[in-house]
Symmetry: C2
Subunit: 179 residues, 2 copies
């Protein structure tokens, strides 16, 4: 073993990482969406999730205000859209429109579901914890939705064989595990 | 879209999930280790990670006491060991010995590094937050280590093609992405 810097260590095990979209509403009621890799389950019963959102992202304060969010899981058909929603972006652009996302009202939360996604989880924020340059939002899953004909999970992939790259923009490659 | 129960929704996007081992020390100074799927990065600068540990697991209180832990990333050669360390287990067994793990002293933390792993991250606990039946431990990465000749990331895989299953025990399949 040898001691290295953190970035070098991460490069060894960052892949594959499943990606999600997170939605919320801003103060004007406009739907907001962001691509998130940093998420994890945090409880079996009740089912809960945590997501980490950069404190400078516009959607950060939307989630803090509405106190709910939706985890929307993109399939292989949303590679381009998921790349786009990961860009820093501006407040003014309407990503929902730009991505042709069809929003649907949830059963419990104010944040919109994305009908184009393979899974949607409605989450109620139970806590927000600052962590360095991000905030961790802990959400309790209130309702779950699936698409009747789901495509494969979209993931962050590496240059190795075994993956099919669907869209690429340095330093990100999005794709799926090859059949 | 249709509304379903949470378990059905999760079955659509749980795979692939990277797995880690988390180590700590108990009150007698004995090394403890557990397999964890629920982990995420939570900050770029400083680098931080969150892990979710079941409140009933023995190692839960060890981490709460020592206030540090090590994220040790198993490669393809540790499939059997990673499966074993995910079992509920007993306090008495010595998993480090059972798995032939070689422990190494870290540069900052009390919890042991695992020399057999491809990456080791020394983490200092900055906060513990209860979340349902688990606790979230937020750790600041103090030092990073890599193995000179790493094998592939070990992941939780599904029954689909594209994965090579290395070890299996219902409901878990551990393996790698096929070349």
């Amino acid at each position: 073993m040898k001691q290295v810097n953190f970035t070098e260590a991460m490069s060894l095990w960052r892949i594959p990482e499943r990606l999600i979209l997170v939605t919320s509403l801003d103060q004007e009621g406009k739907p907001q969406v962001i691509t998130v890799g940093w998420k994890m389950r945090t409880s079996f019963n009740p089912p809960m999730f945590a997501i980490a959102i950069g404190q400078k992202r516009y959607i950060h304060n939307c989630i803090a205000e509405t106190k709910d969010f939706v985890i929307a899981v993109p399939g292989a058909d949303l590679a381009r859209e998921t790349l786009l929603c990961g860009e820093p972006g501006t407040v003014l652009e309407n990503r929902f429109e730009k991505c042709s996302f069809i929003s649907q009202k949830g059963a419990f939360v104010k944040s919109p579901l994305i009908e184009n996604c393979i899974v949607n989880l409605e989450c109620e924020v139970v806590e927000r914890i600052p962590s360095g340059d991000h905030s961790i939002f802990i959400g309790k899953v209130m309702a779950s939705w699936i698409k009747e004909e789901p495509t494969k999970n979209l993931i962050l992939v590496g240059p190795e064989s075994g993956y099919q790259v669907l869209v690429e923009q340095e330093p990100y490659r999005l794709g799926i595990v090859k059949d």
